[in-house]
Amino acid sequence: MSEHEFMITMQDVNKWYGDFHVLKDVNLNIKKGEKLVICGPSGSGKSTTIRCLNHLEKFQEGKISINGTDLIEDVKVVRHIRSQVGMVFQHFNLFPHLSVLENLLLAPTWVHNKPRKEAIETAMYYLERVKIADQAHKYPNQLSGGQQQRVAIARCLCINPEIMLFDEPTSALDPEMVSEVLEVMVELAEEGITMICVTHEMGFAKKVADRVIFMDAGQIIEENEPHEFFDNPQSDRLKLFLDQILSH
Protein backbone atom coordinates (compact mmCIF):
# COMPACT_ATOMS: atom_id res chain seq x y z
CA MET A 1 0.00 0.00 0.00
CA SER A 2 1.50 3.37 -0.95
CA GLU A 3 1.95 6.14 1.53
CA HIS A 4 -0.85 8.26 0.09
CA GLU A 5 -3.55 5.80 0.93
CA PHE A 6 -2.96 6.34 4.61
CA MET A 7 -4.79 9.08 6.44
CA ILE A 8 -1.92 9.47 8.87
CA THR A 9 1.66 8.35 8.58
CA MET A 10 4.35 8.78 11.20
CA GLN A 11 7.87 7.81 10.16
CA ASP A 12 10.63 7.43 12.72
CA VAL A 13 9.31 10.30 14.81
CA ASN A 14 11.66 11.30 17.62
CA LYS A 15 11.04 13.94 20.22
CA TRP A 16 13.00 15.27 23.15
CA TYR A 17 12.05 17.54 26.06
CA GLY A 18 15.46 19.02 26.70
CA ASP A 19 17.58 15.91 27.12
CA PHE A 20 14.67 13.64 27.88
CA HIS A 21 13.87 11.35 24.96
CA VAL A 22 10.05 11.22 24.92
CA LEU A 23 9.30 9.58 21.59
CA LYS A 24 11.66 6.97 20.17
CA ASP A 25 11.32 6.07 16.48
CA VAL A 26 7.55 6.03 16.46
CA ASN A 27 6.19 4.53 13.24
CA LEU A 28 2.47 4.46 12.66
CA ASN A 29 0.26 4.21 9.58
CA ILE A 30 -3.45 4.76 9.93
CA LYS A 31 -5.94 4.13 7.16
CA LYS A 32 -8.93 6.32 6.43
CA GLY A 33 -11.76 5.35 8.74
CA GLU A 34 -9.58 3.30 11.04
CA LYS A 35 -10.22 3.37 14.79
CA LEU A 36 -7.04 3.19 16.80
CA VAL A 37 -6.76 3.00 20.56
CA ILE A 38 -3.47 3.81 22.25
CA CYS A 39 -2.88 2.74 25.83
CA GLY A 40 0.07 2.57 28.13
CA PRO A 41 1.29 3.73 31.53
CA SER A 42 1.50 7.44 32.28
CA GLY A 43 4.56 9.09 30.84
CA SER A 44 4.78 6.56 28.05
CA GLY A 45 4.41 9.20 25.34
CA LYS A 46 0.91 8.28 24.16
CA SER A 47 -0.54 11.76 24.62
CA THR A 48 2.60 13.30 23.15
CA THR A 49 2.19 11.11 20.10
CA ILE A 50 -1.29 12.33 19.26
CA ARG A 51 -0.45 15.91 20.22
CA CYS A 52 2.29 15.82 17.58
CA LEU A 53 -0.34 15.04 14.95
CA ASN A 54 -1.94 18.49 15.17
CA HIS A 55 1.29 20.24 16.05
CA LEU A 56 0.46 21.02 19.67
CA GLU A 57 3.88 19.44 20.24
CA LYS A 58 6.85 19.84 17.94
CA PHE A 59 9.00 16.86 17.08
CA GLN A 60 12.67 17.06 16.22
CA GLU A 61 13.20 14.11 13.91
CA GLY A 62 11.10 12.08 11.52
CA LYS A 63 8.15 12.80 9.30
CA ILE A 64 4.43 13.11 9.86
CA SER A 65 1.94 13.37 7.08
CA ILE A 66 -1.79 13.98 7.48
CA ASN A 67 -4.16 13.27 4.62
CA GLY A 68 -1.37 13.74 2.11
CA THR A 69 0.07 16.92 3.62
CA ASP A 70 3.49 16.81 5.23
CA LEU A 71 3.45 18.46 8.64
CA ILE A 72 6.10 21.18 8.53
CA GLU A 73 6.77 24.31 10.59
CA ASP A 74 4.70 26.66 8.53
CA VAL A 75 1.73 28.61 9.82
CA LYS A 76 -0.41 27.90 6.75
CA VAL A 77 0.38 24.19 6.66
CA VAL A 78 -0.31 23.85 10.38
CA ARG A 79 -3.63 25.67 10.06
CA HIS A 80 -4.56 23.54 7.06
CA ILE A 81 -3.86 20.38 9.04
CA ARG A 82 -5.66 21.62 12.14
CA SER A 83 -8.73 22.36 10.05
CA GLN A 84 -8.95 18.62 9.32
CA VAL A 85 -8.12 17.34 12.79
CA GLY A 86 -10.42 17.70 15.79
CA MET A 87 -9.02 17.19 19.26
CA VAL A 88 -10.87 16.32 22.46
CA PHE A 89 -8.96 16.96 25.68
CA GLN A 90 -8.94 15.29 29.05
CA HIS A 91 -10.07 18.51 30.76
CA PHE A 92 -12.57 19.47 28.02
CA ASN A 93 -11.00 22.93 27.59
CA LEU A 94 -14.28 24.61 26.72
CA PHE A 95 -14.10 28.39 26.68
CA PRO A 96 -15.78 29.38 29.96
CA HIS A 97 -16.59 32.96 28.91
CA LEU A 98 -18.70 31.81 25.95
CA SER A 99 -22.02 30.00 25.96
CA VAL A 100 -22.12 26.43 24.70
CA LEU A 101 -23.42 27.60 21.33
CA GLU A 102 -20.77 30.32 21.00
CA ASN A 103 -18.11 27.72 21.79
CA LEU A 104 -19.32 25.76 18.78
CA LEU A 105 -19.54 28.80 16.50
CA LEU A 106 -16.04 30.11 17.07
CA ALA A 107 -14.04 27.97 14.64
CA PRO A 108 -16.68 27.73 11.87
CA THR A 109 -17.23 31.50 11.73
CA TRP A 110 -13.67 32.72 12.31
CA VAL A 111 -11.54 29.98 10.74
CA HIS A 112 -13.83 28.55 8.07
CA ASN A 113 -15.66 31.81 7.31
CA LYS A 114 -19.10 30.25 7.42
CA PRO A 115 -22.07 32.62 7.59
CA ARG A 116 -23.29 32.79 11.17
CA LYS A 117 -26.75 31.48 10.37
CA GLU A 118 -25.38 28.40 8.67
CA ALA A 119 -22.89 27.87 11.51
CA ILE A 120 -25.72 27.98 14.05
CA GLU A 121 -27.64 25.35 12.10
CA THR A 122 -24.60 23.07 12.00
CA ALA A 123 -23.89 23.68 15.68
CA MET A 124 -27.44 22.85 16.71
CA TYR A 125 -27.33 19.71 14.56
CA TYR A 126 -24.24 18.45 16.37
CA LEU A 127 -25.54 19.48 19.79
CA GLU A 128 -28.57 17.37 19.06
CA ARG A 129 -26.31 14.51 18.02
CA VAL A 130 -24.57 14.61 21.40
CA LYS A 131 -28.00 15.00 23.05
CA ILE A 132 -27.39 18.35 24.66
CA ALA A 133 -29.21 20.83 22.41
CA ASP A 134 -31.37 22.05 25.31
CA GLN A 135 -28.24 23.39 27.06
CA ALA A 136 -27.09 25.49 24.08
CA HIS A 137 -27.41 28.82 25.87
CA LYS A 138 -25.85 27.80 29.16
CA TYR A 139 -22.23 28.44 30.07
CA PRO A 140 -19.80 25.50 30.30
CA ASN A 141 -19.36 25.81 34.07
CA GLN A 142 -23.09 25.25 34.53
CA LEU A 143 -22.83 21.79 32.98
CA SER A 144 -21.67 18.47 34.41
CA GLY A 145 -18.34 17.01 33.31
CA GLY A 146 -19.98 14.51 31.00
CA GLN A 147 -22.06 17.22 29.37
CA GLN A 148 -18.99 19.43 28.94
CA GLN A 149 -17.07 16.66 27.26
CA ARG A 150 -19.97 16.01 24.87
CA VAL A 151 -20.00 19.73 24.03
CA ALA A 152 -16.26 19.50 23.39
CA ILE A 153 -16.85 16.64 20.97
CA ALA A 154 -19.58 18.61 19.20
CA ARG A 155 -17.24 21.60 19.00
CA CYS A 156 -14.74 19.49 17.08
CA LEU A 157 -17.38 18.03 14.80
CA CYS A 158 -18.47 21.53 13.78
CA ILE A 159 -15.24 21.97 11.81
CA ASN A 160 -16.14 18.78 9.94
CA PRO A 161 -12.82 17.05 10.61
CA GLU A 162 -11.39 14.02 8.76
CA ILE A 163 -9.69 12.84 11.93
CA MET A 164 -10.68 12.96 15.58
CA LEU A 165 -8.06 12.74 18.31
CA PHE A 166 -9.16 11.90 21.85
CA ASP A 167 -6.69 12.52 24.65
CA GLU A 168 -7.98 10.53 27.65
CA PRO A 169 -11.50 11.91 27.17
CA THR A 170 -13.03 10.14 30.17
CA SER A 171 -10.19 10.30 32.70
CA ALA A 172 -11.38 13.49 34.38
CA LEU A 173 -15.01 12.42 34.62
CA ASP A 174 -17.02 11.16 37.56
CA PRO A 175 -17.68 7.43 37.07
CA GLU A 176 -21.39 8.05 36.49
CA MET A 177 -20.65 10.16 33.44
CA VAL A 178 -18.15 8.02 31.60
CA SER A 179 -20.74 6.01 29.74
CA GLU A 180 -22.61 8.99 28.26
CA VAL A 181 -19.36 10.19 26.68
CA LEU A 182 -18.33 6.75 25.48
CA GLU A 183 -21.76 6.29 23.93
CA VAL A 184 -21.26 9.40 21.79
CA MET A 185 -17.80 8.20 20.81
CA VAL A 186 -19.13 4.79 19.79
CA GLU A 187 -21.78 6.41 17.59
CA LEU A 188 -19.10 8.56 16.03
CA ALA A 189 -16.92 5.54 15.36
CA GLU A 190 -19.77 3.81 13.58
CA GLU A 191 -19.95 6.65 11.09
CA GLY A 192 -16.52 5.95 9.69
CA ILE A 193 -14.50 8.94 10.86
CA THR A 194 -10.81 8.24 11.45
CA MET A 195 -10.30 8.09 15.20
CA ILE A 196 -7.28 7.90 17.45
CA CYS A 197 -8.09 7.53 21.07
CA VAL A 198 -5.76 7.53 24.05
CA THR A 199 -7.81 5.82 26.73
CA HIS A 200 -7.84 3.21 29.44
CA GLU A 201 -11.45 2.27 28.73
CA MET A 202 -10.77 -1.29 27.67
CA GLY A 203 -14.44 -2.01 27.04
CA PHE A 204 -14.50 0.80 24.52
CA ALA A 205 -11.31 -0.49 22.89
CA LYS A 206 -12.74 -3.98 22.49
CA LYS A 207 -16.00 -2.69 21.08
CA VAL A 208 -14.76 -0.07 18.66
CA ALA A 209 -11.05 -0.34 17.89
CA ASP A 210 -9.70 -1.86 14.71
CA ARG A 211 -6.29 -1.92 16.29
CA VAL A 212 -4.87 -1.33 19.77
CA ILE A 213 -1.38 -0.02 20.42
CA PHE A 214 0.58 -0.32 23.62
CA MET A 215 3.25 2.28 24.31
CA ASP A 216 5.86 2.38 27.02
CA ALA A 217 8.86 4.66 27.52
CA GLY A 218 8.24 6.49 24.26
CA GLN A 219 8.05 3.43 22.05
CA ILE A 220 5.35 1.32 20.50
CA ILE A 221 5.80 -2.01 22.27
CA GLU A 222 2.97 -4.00 20.82
CA GLU A 223 0.09 -3.59 18.40
CA ASN A 224 -2.68 -5.98 17.57
CA GLU A 225 -6.38 -6.28 16.82
CA PRO A 226 -8.28 -5.85 20.10
CA HIS A 227 -9.20 -9.43 20.96
CA GLU A 228 -5.71 -10.77 20.44
CA PHE A 229 -4.34 -7.70 22.20
CA PHE A 230 -6.29 -8.33 25.39
CA ASP A 231 -6.59 -12.09 25.36
CA ASN A 232 -3.19 -13.00 24.10
CA PRO A 233 -0.63 -10.29 24.94
CA GLN A 234 2.86 -11.14 23.71
CA SER A 235 5.27 -8.89 25.61
CA ASP A 236 5.84 -9.17 29.36
CA ARG A 237 5.41 -5.43 29.73
CA LEU A 238 1.91 -5.52 28.27
CA LYS A 239 0.96 -8.59 30.33
CA LEU A 240 1.98 -6.72 33.47
CA PHE A 241 0.09 -3.59 32.36
CA LEU A 242 -3.09 -5.50 31.60
CA ASP A 243 -2.83 -7.33 34.91
CA GLN A 244 -2.62 -4.04 36.73
CA ILE A 245 -5.51 -2.28 35.03
CA LEU A 246 -7.83 -5.28 34.91
CA SER A 247 -7.11 -6.76 38.33
CA HIS A 248 -9.71 -4.77 40.22
Binding site: R82, N93, F95, P96, H97, L106, W110, H112, Y139
Partner: protein, 359 residues
Protein backbone atom coordinates in the same frame (compact mmCIF):
# COMPACT_ATOMS: atom_id res chain seq x y z
CA UNK B 1 -29.98 -5.04 56.00
CA UNK B 2 -31.48 -1.61 56.45
CA UNK B 3 -33.16 0.84 54.06
CA UNK B 4 -33.82 4.48 54.65
CA UNK B 5 -36.49 6.81 53.28
CA UNK B 6 -35.67 10.25 51.88
CA UNK B 7 -36.26 13.12 54.35
CA UNK B 8 -37.91 16.47 53.65
CA UNK B 9 -35.78 19.62 54.09
CA UNK B 10 -36.73 21.54 57.27
CA UNK B 11 -36.41 25.31 57.86
CA UNK B 12 -33.44 26.39 60.01
CA UNK B 13 -34.31 26.95 63.74
CA UNK B 14 -35.44 30.51 64.57
CA UNK B 15 -32.57 31.00 67.03
CA UNK B 16 -30.14 31.08 64.10
CA UNK B 17 -31.55 34.09 62.23
CA UNK B 18 -32.95 37.57 62.77
CA UNK B 19 -31.51 40.87 63.99
CA UNK B 20 -30.87 39.79 67.59
CA UNK B 21 -29.04 36.72 66.41
CA UNK B 22 -26.92 38.81 64.08
CA UNK B 23 -26.04 41.28 66.86
CA UNK B 24 -25.12 38.54 69.29
CA UNK B 25 -23.15 36.60 66.72
CA UNK B 26 -21.21 39.54 65.27
CA UNK B 27 -20.93 42.22 67.92
CA UNK B 28 -21.32 40.55 71.32
CA UNK B 29 -20.22 36.96 70.83
CA UNK B 30 -17.87 37.04 73.85
CA UNK B 31 -16.39 39.51 76.36
CA UNK B 32 -13.49 40.57 74.14
CA UNK B 33 -15.76 41.16 71.17
CA UNK B 34 -18.27 43.10 73.31
CA UNK B 35 -15.52 45.36 74.68
CA UNK B 36 -14.25 46.07 71.17
CA UNK B 37 -17.80 46.88 70.05
CA UNK B 38 -18.23 49.36 72.92
CA UNK B 39 -14.87 51.01 72.30
CA UNK B 40 -15.71 51.26 68.61
CA UNK B 41 -19.08 52.82 69.32
CA UNK B 42 -17.49 55.37 71.68
CA UNK B 43 -14.89 56.23 69.05
CA UNK B 44 -17.60 56.84 66.44
CA UNK B 45 -19.52 58.96 69.01
CA UNK B 46 -16.53 61.25 69.53
CA UNK B 47 -15.85 61.65 65.80
CA UNK B 48 -19.12 61.76 63.95
CA UNK B 49 -21.27 64.38 65.72
CA UNK B 50 -18.57 67.11 65.68
CA UNK B 51 -17.80 66.33 62.05
CA UNK B 52 -21.47 66.57 61.07
CA UNK B 53 -21.78 69.82 63.02
CA UNK B 54 -18.81 71.33 61.25
CA UNK B 55 -19.77 70.14 57.79
CA UNK B 56 -23.53 70.61 57.87
CA UNK B 57 -25.32 72.00 60.93
CA UNK B 58 -22.94 74.86 61.78
CA UNK B 59 -21.88 75.47 58.21
CA UNK B 60 -22.42 78.68 56.23
CA UNK B 61 -23.84 77.97 52.83
CA UNK B 62 -24.64 81.41 51.40
CA UNK B 63 -24.08 85.11 51.84
CA UNK B 64 -20.81 87.04 51.72
CA UNK B 65 -17.75 86.25 53.76
CA UNK B 66 -18.29 89.26 56.03
CA UNK B 67 -21.63 87.91 57.19
CA UNK B 68 -20.26 84.63 58.54
CA UNK B 69 -21.33 84.14 62.16
CA UNK B 70 -21.39 80.37 62.60
CA UNK B 71 -18.46 78.24 63.73
CA UNK B 72 -18.64 75.54 61.06
CA UNK B 73 -17.38 75.23 57.53
CA UNK B 74 -17.65 78.31 55.33
CA UNK B 75 -18.78 76.71 52.09
CA UNK B 76 -19.30 80.15 50.57
CA UNK B 77 -15.67 79.90 49.51
CA UNK B 78 -16.44 76.83 47.41
CA UNK B 79 -19.57 78.46 46.01
CA UNK B 80 -17.58 81.55 45.07
CA UNK B 81 -14.70 79.68 43.44
CA UNK B 82 -16.73 76.75 42.11
CA UNK B 83 -16.30 77.64 38.45
CA UNK B 84 -12.53 77.85 38.81
CA UNK B 85 -12.37 74.48 40.55
CA UNK B 86 -14.31 72.90 37.74
CA UNK B 87 -13.08 74.72 34.62
CA UNK B 88 -9.75 76.31 35.59
CA UNK B 89 -9.14 79.36 33.42
CA UNK B 90 -11.47 78.20 30.68
CA UNK B 91 -13.31 81.35 29.47
CA UNK B 92 -16.54 81.72 31.38
CA UNK B 93 -18.64 82.44 28.31
CA UNK B 94 -17.57 79.06 26.88
CA UNK B 95 -18.32 76.89 29.93
CA UNK B 96 -21.21 75.36 28.03
CA UNK B 97 -18.70 73.45 25.92
CA UNK B 98 -17.19 71.30 28.72
CA UNK B 99 -20.71 70.96 30.14
CA UNK B 100 -21.92 69.64 26.81
CA UNK B 101 -18.95 67.23 26.72
CA UNK B 102 -19.93 65.94 30.16
CA UNK B 103 -23.46 65.30 28.88
CA UNK B 104 -22.06 63.61 25.78
CA UNK B 105 -19.94 61.36 28.02
CA UNK B 106 -23.02 60.25 29.94
CA UNK B 107 -24.96 59.73 26.71
CA UNK B 108 -22.01 57.77 25.33
CA UNK B 109 -21.82 55.46 28.33
CA UNK B 110 -25.58 54.87 28.19
CA UNK B 111 -25.44 54.19 24.45
CA UNK B 112 -22.70 51.59 25.03
CA UNK B 113 -25.14 49.82 27.31
CA UNK B 114 -28.22 50.00 25.10
CA UNK B 115 -27.02 50.06 21.48
CA UNK B 116 -26.78 46.46 20.32
CA UNK B 117 -25.62 46.94 16.72
CA UNK B 118 -21.85 46.42 16.70
CA UNK B 119 -21.23 48.72 13.70
CA UNK B 120 -23.02 51.64 15.32
CA UNK B 121 -21.09 50.92 18.52
CA UNK B 122 -17.73 51.08 16.73
CA UNK B 123 -18.76 54.26 14.94
CA UNK B 124 -19.74 55.83 18.28
CA UNK B 125 -16.48 54.76 19.90
CA UNK B 126 -14.47 56.34 17.09
CA UNK B 127 -16.58 59.48 16.91
CA UNK B 128 -16.78 60.14 20.64
CA UNK B 129 -13.19 61.33 21.35
CA UNK B 130 -13.13 63.49 18.20
CA UNK B 131 -16.35 65.27 19.14
CA UNK B 132 -15.15 65.80 22.72
CA UNK B 133 -11.80 67.15 21.57
CA UNK B 134 -13.30 69.54 19.01
CA UNK B 135 -15.81 70.82 21.55
CA UNK B 136 -13.24 71.49 24.25
CA UNK B 137 -10.37 72.85 22.21
CA UNK B 138 -12.43 74.53 19.50
CA UNK B 139 -10.89 75.54 16.19
CA UNK B 140 -13.53 74.06 13.88
CA UNK B 141 -17.23 74.42 13.17
CA UNK B 142 -17.02 78.09 14.13
CA UNK B 143 -15.91 77.30 17.68
CA UNK B 144 -13.47 79.71 19.26
CA UNK B 145 -10.03 78.19 20.00
CA UNK B 146 -9.21 77.75 23.68
CA UNK B 147 -5.48 77.12 24.26
CA UNK B 148 -4.60 74.21 26.50
CA UNK B 149 -2.94 76.58 29.02
CA UNK B 150 -6.42 77.73 29.94
CA UNK B 151 -7.75 74.25 30.57
CA UNK B 152 -7.82 73.39 34.23
CA UNK B 153 -9.68 72.29 37.31
CA UNK B 154 -11.72 69.13 37.55
CA UNK B 155 -12.16 69.23 33.78
CA UNK B 156 -8.41 68.83 33.28
CA UNK B 157 -8.15 66.14 35.95
CA UNK B 158 -10.87 64.07 34.33
CA UNK B 159 -9.49 64.68 30.85
CA UNK B 160 -5.93 63.65 31.73
CA UNK B 161 -7.17 60.57 33.58
CA UNK B 162 -9.58 59.59 30.80
CA UNK B 163 -7.00 59.95 28.04
CA UNK B 164 -4.42 58.15 30.18
CA UNK B 165 -6.77 55.26 30.89
CA UNK B 166 -8.20 54.87 27.40
CA UNK B 167 -4.93 55.27 25.50
CA UNK B 168 -2.82 53.18 27.86
CA UNK B 169 -5.18 50.22 27.80
CA UNK B 170 -4.47 48.90 24.28
CA UNK B 171 -0.77 49.77 24.57
CA UNK B 172 -0.59 47.90 27.89
CA UNK B 173 -2.25 44.82 26.39
CA UNK B 174 0.17 44.79 23.46
CA UNK B 175 3.12 45.17 25.85
CA UNK B 176 1.81 42.27 27.95
CA UNK B 177 1.47 40.06 24.89
CA UNK B 178 4.90 41.17 23.70
CA UNK B 179 6.36 40.21 27.03
CA UNK B 180 5.04 36.67 26.54
CA UNK B 181 6.20 36.51 22.93
CA UNK B 182 8.58 33.81 21.72
CA UNK B 183 10.34 36.38 19.51
CA UNK B 184 13.42 37.47 21.46
CA UNK B 185 13.60 41.03 20.10
CA UNK B 186 9.92 41.81 20.73
CA UNK B 187 10.19 40.29 24.16
CA UNK B 188 13.36 42.19 25.09
CA UNK B 189 11.92 45.50 23.91
CA UNK B 190 8.71 45.01 25.88
CA UNK B 191 10.42 43.81 29.06
CA UNK B 192 12.93 46.65 28.77
CA UNK B 193 10.24 49.28 28.38
CA UNK B 194 8.05 47.93 31.18
CA UNK B 195 10.88 47.53 33.67
CA UNK B 196 12.36 50.94 32.83
CA UNK B 197 9.08 52.78 33.23
CA UNK B 198 8.13 50.93 36.39
CA UNK B 199 11.46 51.76 37.90
CA UNK B 200 10.99 55.49 37.50
CA UNK B 201 8.58 57.78 39.41
CA UNK B 202 5.79 59.43 37.42
CA UNK B 203 7.15 62.86 38.30
CA UNK B 204 10.41 62.02 36.55
CA UNK B 205 8.56 60.98 33.43
CA UNK B 206 6.51 64.19 33.49
CA UNK B 207 9.69 66.26 33.88
CA UNK B 208 11.30 64.36 31.04
CA UNK B 209 8.24 64.91 28.90
CA UNK B 210 8.11 68.62 29.60
CA UNK B 211 11.80 69.54 29.82
CA UNK B 212 13.94 66.89 28.17
CA UNK B 213 11.73 65.91 25.25
CA UNK B 214 11.71 69.37 23.59
CA UNK B 215 15.53 69.28 23.49
CA UNK B 216 15.31 66.52 20.91
CA UNK B 217 13.19 68.57 18.53
CA UNK B 218 14.31 71.50 16.44
CA UNK B 219 13.10 74.91 17.57
CA UNK B 220 10.26 75.12 15.07
CA UNK B 221 8.41 72.16 16.47
CA UNK B 222 6.75 72.98 19.73
CA UNK B 223 4.67 70.27 21.24
CA UNK B 224 1.80 71.35 23.34
CA UNK B 225 2.62 71.06 27.06
CA UNK B 226 -0.56 69.17 27.85
CA UNK B 227 0.03 66.78 24.96
CA UNK B 228 3.50 66.01 26.30
CA UNK B 229 2.09 65.31 29.75
CA UNK B 230 -0.59 63.09 28.24
CA UNK B 231 2.00 61.06 26.32
CA UNK B 232 4.11 60.70 29.46
CA UNK B 233 1.17 59.58 31.59
CA UNK B 234 -0.09 57.19 28.92
CA UNK B 235 3.28 55.45 28.58
CA UNK B 236 3.66 55.31 32.35
CA UNK B 237 0.23 53.81 32.82
CA UNK B 238 0.73 51.39 29.90
CA UNK B 239 3.64 49.74 31.72
CA UNK B 240 1.47 49.12 34.78
CA UNK B 241 -1.47 47.88 32.72
CA UNK B 242 0.94 45.51 30.98
CA UNK B 243 1.92 43.94 34.29
CA UNK B 244 -1.69 43.64 35.44
CA UNK B 245 -2.72 42.02 32.16
CA UNK B 246 0.29 39.70 32.30
CA UNK B 247 -0.96 38.47 35.67
CA UNK B 248 -4.32 37.73 34.05
CA UNK B 249 -2.72 35.98 31.09
CA UNK B 250 -0.69 33.74 33.38
CA UNK B 251 -3.84 32.65 35.17
CA UNK B 252 -5.35 31.22 31.97
CA UNK B 253 -4.80 27.46 31.86
CA UNK B 254 -2.57 26.05 29.14
CA UNK B 255 -5.56 24.05 27.87
CA UNK B 256 -7.33 27.20 26.70
CA UNK B 257 -4.41 28.07 24.42
CA UNK B 258 -4.27 24.48 23.17
CA UNK B 259 -8.01 24.30 22.51
CA UNK B 260 -8.00 27.51 20.52
CA UNK B 261 -4.93 26.39 18.55
CA UNK B 262 -6.33 22.96 17.86
CA UNK B 263 -9.52 24.51 16.48
CA UNK B 264 -7.33 26.29 13.94
CA UNK B 265 -7.63 29.82 15.35
CA UNK B 266 -4.64 32.01 14.52
CA UNK B 267 -2.55 33.63 17.26
CA UNK B 268 -4.47 36.91 17.15
CA UNK B 269 -7.86 35.24 16.82
CA UNK B 270 -7.07 33.04 19.80
CA UNK B 271 -5.87 35.99 21.83
CA UNK B 272 -8.76 38.30 21.00
CA UNK B 273 -11.58 35.76 21.09
CA UNK B 274 -10.45 33.30 23.75
CA UNK B 275 -7.55 34.33 25.94
CA UNK B 276 -7.88 38.09 26.44
CA UNK B 277 -11.58 38.13 27.35
CA UNK B 278 -10.82 35.69 30.16
CA UNK B 279 -7.54 37.30 31.20
CA UNK B 280 -9.07 40.80 31.30
CA UNK B 281 -12.03 39.52 33.28
CA UNK B 282 -9.71 38.18 35.96
CA UNK B 283 -7.75 41.44 35.86
CA UNK B 284 -10.73 43.78 36.34
CA UNK B 285 -10.13 44.45 40.07
CA UNK B 286 -6.44 45.15 39.52
CA UNK B 287 -7.07 47.17 36.36
CA UNK B 288 -9.56 49.38 38.16
CA UNK B 289 -7.18 49.67 41.10
CA UNK B 290 -4.52 50.86 38.72
CA UNK B 291 -6.95 53.28 37.01
CA UNK B 292 -7.93 54.71 40.39
CA UNK B 293 -4.35 55.32 41.34
CA UNK B 294 -3.74 56.93 37.95
CA UNK B 295 -6.72 59.19 38.53
CA UNK B 296 -5.16 60.35 41.79
CA UNK B 297 -1.68 60.59 40.26
CA UNK B 298 -2.88 62.98 37.57
CA UNK B 299 -2.60 65.70 40.16
CA UNK B 300 1.17 65.57 39.61
CA UNK B 301 0.70 67.52 36.37
CA UNK B 302 0.74 70.61 38.56
CA UNK B 303 4.50 70.05 38.73
CA UNK B 304 4.85 71.00 35.07
CA UNK B 305 2.53 73.96 35.34
CA UNK B 306 -0.87 72.52 34.52
CA UNK B 307 -3.65 73.46 36.92
CA UNK B 308 -5.77 70.47 37.86
CA UNK B 309 -8.43 70.69 40.57
CA UNK B 310 -5.96 70.41 43.46
CA UNK B 311 -3.70 73.07 41.97
CA UNK B 312 -6.74 75.31 41.50
CA UNK B 313 -7.61 74.99 45.20
CA UNK B 314 -4.06 75.89 46.19
CA UNK B 315 -4.12 78.79 43.77
CA UNK B 316 -7.46 80.21 44.92
CA UNK B 317 -6.24 79.99 48.51
CA UNK B 318 -3.58 82.54 47.69
CA UNK B 319 -6.25 85.02 46.61
CA UNK B 320 -5.78 87.84 49.13
CA UNK B 321 -9.54 88.29 49.42
CA UNK B 322 -9.95 84.68 50.44
CA UNK B 323 -7.11 83.82 52.79
CA UNK B 324 -7.56 81.08 55.37
CA UNK B 325 -10.05 78.91 53.53
CA UNK B 326 -7.65 75.99 52.95
CA UNK B 327 -9.60 73.51 55.05
CA UNK B 328 -12.84 74.01 53.14
CA UNK B 329 -11.00 73.83 49.84
CA UNK B 330 -9.14 70.65 50.57
CA UNK B 331 -12.15 68.95 52.16
CA UNK B 332 -14.07 69.75 49.00
CA UNK B 333 -11.34 68.29 46.75
CA UNK B 334 -11.10 65.23 48.98
CA UNK B 335 -14.80 64.61 48.58
CA UNK B 336 -14.64 65.05 44.81
CA UNK B 337 -11.76 62.58 44.54
CA UNK B 338 -13.47 60.13 46.87
CA UNK B 339 -16.79 60.24 45.03
CA UNK B 340 -15.13 59.62 41.67
CA UNK B 341 -12.81 56.86 42.90
CA UNK B 342 -15.59 55.15 44.85
CA UNK B 343 -17.83 55.27 41.79
CA UNK B 344 -15.08 53.67 39.72
CA UNK B 345 -14.60 50.85 42.20
CA UNK B 346 -18.36 50.22 42.45
CA UNK B 347 -18.57 50.21 38.66
CA UNK B 348 -15.81 47.63 38.51
CA UNK B 349 -17.74 45.41 40.88
CA UNK B 350 -20.81 45.64 38.69
CA UNK B 351 -18.80 44.68 35.57
CA UNK B 352 -17.30 41.76 37.46
CA UNK B 353 -20.78 40.53 38.31
CA UNK B 354 -21.90 41.02 34.73
CA UNK B 355 -19.04 38.93 33.32
CA UNK B 356 -19.33 36.22 35.92
CA UNK B 357 -20.32 33.01 34.11
CA UNK B 358 -19.71 30.61 37.00
CA UNK B 359 -23.22 30.41 38.41
Amino acid sequence: MATYTMKEAKPAPSTSKGLLFWLRENLFSDIKNSLLTLVGLYFLYTIIPPLLNWMIFDATWSGTKDEVVKEGARWIFIVEKFDQFIYGFYPESLHWRPNLVALICIAFLLSMKFVKNINIKIALILLFPVVCFVLISGGGFGLEVVETEKWGGLMLTVLVAAVGIIASFPIGIILALGRQSHMPIVKTLCVGFIEFVRGVPLITILFMASVVLPLFFSDGIDFDKLLRALIGITLFQAAYIAEVVRGGLQAIPRGQYEASESLGLSYWQGMILVILPQALKISIPNLVGSFISLFKDTTLVLIIGLFDILAMVTLTNSDTNWLGYEVEGYVFVTMIYWVICFTMSQYSKSIERKFNTEH
